[in-house]
Symmetry: C2
Subunit: 416 residues, 2 copies
């Protein structure tokens, strides 16, 4: 596409009054359209009964129906007995887990976190802004840890948690990390499992948001954190989260957490004060829609078929426009929802601003770091999934122009 | 029914292996069966769009769709702008409100409650056990206040909140109170609206769980707390809660809270850290199912037609078995889900135990008081809605026998 064509297409899209949005990891309307059968999966009264006879239309069943626990257990390789089915949001379950630790302590013999002058979390960076926002809200100090190509820098993680007993947690997206797309290696997962933290109430927040979100035919395996942690007597350290938000309908899906028996014994009585139970009809809808774990994997192929071309569009346009400029680095991921783009130091904010002026919304520069502060101002999270392919082409061209502009300006400023 | 018939019917029901359950305020299967059309209210993709164009199947819309806010606004007489639509549980919204106050404070200029050595709540008694459980979990001291026939003893409430700045809240079920069934008079609501608490972060938890839950044709009016509170500059003091749990499917309904503009300005940014949003498809299901506030009122008549005979069964059997014994007092309510039964002092636990031995589950004696402790051990919460009418007849006879037995034993012990 030459410059004139780009301008023309851009004007056409602007005339539609639609902002080009590459800011959030949202499924496209086309993806959502593939799931209409979920809306009709439970439409009769007699479809509302679980295998134990629970009437999903009534109170009861605090931690979810068996069928839903089993389904998540199978796709995550976690025993169904360790699963608590929650509401529609794994973020909310994580927020609740931090809030519960703040107010009640992690276990009976642990002081509530709010009773400490200072507590801290390790934050592999770049990472997920909504994880960081929970810490910021509760005044939890965040410590950056570099996320390498096989997971967080474990030398640093091991050292910090052993030395500093104010460190009470770490945020992990172990598969197709948000935003880098990397998956933790078996070795990294094993090192997590055998951590020796100074704080006995240190928690690993294992947010496996993209457990079955492959973009290509190859499935990237993730080692099983619970099995490994048990080998080292560390199973109480792991809090596991997942949801169907990017499997079915975001906001109308089903979220779960999984934890050790000892942790569940602490959580369930507190959860029973918080709610009488979550939406079991929606759980049953999901169970009937998928049928089995295999059904979920088949279903995810439909999403991949729609999403993969979008990632390819962004990747190929960036290659054709930015290769050889030295102004951009990225890796096209094998799964997940994001491309993590590195621009020259000090340029990310300028790229964000330039793209914004041209009508393309990116995730705010800095968002992938705690406190919204990217120390080198160089990382941008690109979310290719929501726009149509046409819009995406234009948006990516705009993005590339913005990158070149910002980089040129930086180097011009440097030599002048 | 004579004693022999009772025994026979009881044996028949026991043989079915079903425990007679009068313990929780649950709709009966028959009530649930009237709502099958809710399961099919949104089954097409094009039914998922709100009036503002929001795609309910995707992320976005933190505090709910307009249609749902309007519907609740209309049935509660609250401006829709003051409404936040939550998930499936108003209890969870109340829990979150307390947890938020504990961790973040009620407003920016207020200290988080967890930073105080001691905070307290007023608890009109008898009251709702799940309210009290939240306080107990967070170590909030509970102070009993008698619930009179027109609302809490306001002389006492006014005196206590003015004197004691550790008092940060009061639990209210202002219409068809759980369990007494009384509705706060206009005068009581007005006195709430003009409270002058010593603590500037004192909150009124206005849990209007039974706003449209009439059992008889006569609707008992409830004065509008927000309108009155505004007259006294006290609108920031009120947190309003409601849900469709006992309108549609418990656990799969929609809950809301309403608050002043100033409070909403504090809540929304915190809520945005907690979740990306609640289940908007389920909101749309409810909107399409009811159509309007009038639709909700029509719908509630179907419930009343099923529930009213159950209340009448309990009331009439208790009258025929207990009138003149001096062993029981109760008022058959005009709405809500409960009958509050008073037995002679020191007898409630005995009645609960005797009924339990005979296979009838009551709400545990003491549950209607903070810490599960009824100082006079005389109140029982009877929930007539869940059992079938046949089961209910037997269960009520058993209950009456238990009351007579416990009372006789007490008076026998007294004279011997």
């Amino acid at each position: 596409m030459n410059h004139e064509q780009l301008i023309k297409q851009y004007e056409t899209i602007k005339a539609r009054g639609k902002k080009l949005d590459m800011s959030r990891g949202k499924p496209s309307p086309e993806q959502l359209g593939t799931m209409s059968r979920l809306l009709t999966a439970v439409i009769r009264n007699d479809e509302c009964f679980s295998e134990t006879g629970t009437d999903c239309r009534n109170y009861g069943g605090l931690d979810g129906i068996n069928e839903m626990k089993r389904l998540f257990g199978e796709i995550l390789n976690v025993p169904m007995e360790q699963v608590i089915v929650g509401g529609n949001s794994s973020l909310n379950l994580m927020y609740d887990t931090v809030a519960r630790a703040m107010l009640c302590g992690v276990r009976e013999d642990c002081k509530p976190w709010c009773k400490y002058d200072q507590i801290s979390f390790l934050c592999p960076v770049p990472g997920y802004d909504r994880h960081f926002a929970i810490c910021e809200l509760f005044g939890i100090r965040m410590i950056n840890v570099p996320l390498l190509s096989d997971g967080p820098d474990m030398d640093l993680v091991e050292k910090l948690v052993a030395e500093d007993d104010t460190i009470k947690g770490i945020w992990c997206v172990p598969k197709y990390a948000n935003p880098s797309g990397i998956t933790y290696s078996d070795e990294v997962v094993r090192r997590f499992a055998q951590l020796k933290p100074a704080a006995k109430d240190f928690l690993v927040f294992w947010d496996n948001a993209y457990a079955v979100h492959e973009l290509v035919d190859e499935e990237v395996p993730l080692a099983d954190i619970f099995t490994l942690a048990e080998q080292y007597g560390n199973e109480d350290m792991v809090f596991y989260f997942a949801s169907t938000s990017k499997i079915t309908f975001p906001g109308s899906g089903v979220a779960i957490m999984a934890a050790s028996e000892r942790n569940l014994d602490q959580i369930r009585p507190i959860l029973a004060k918080q709610t009488i139970g979550f939406d079991k009809i929606n759980q049953m809808r999901h169970v009937k829609y998928f049928g089995s774990a295999a059904g979920i994997r088949e279903h995810m192929k439909k999403h991949a078929a729609i999403m993969r071309p979008k990632f390819e569009i962004v990747d190929s346009i960036m290659h054709s426009e930015l290769d050889g400029t030295g102004a951009a680095e990225w890796v096209n991921p094998k799964g997940g929802y994001f491309i993590s783009l590195y621009v020259p130091d000090g340029c990310a904010t300028a790229v964000y601003n330039e793209a914004s002026k041209a009508g393309v919304a990116l995730t705010k520069a800095g968002s992938t770091y705690p406190y919204g502060f990217d120390p080198r101002d160089r990382n941008l999270r690109i979310a290719p999934t929501y726009p149509s392919n046409d819009e995406l082409r234009v948006a990516t061209h705009v993005l590339c122009e913005a990158v070149k502009f910002a980089a040129a300006k930086k180097f011009f400023d440097l030599v002048n």
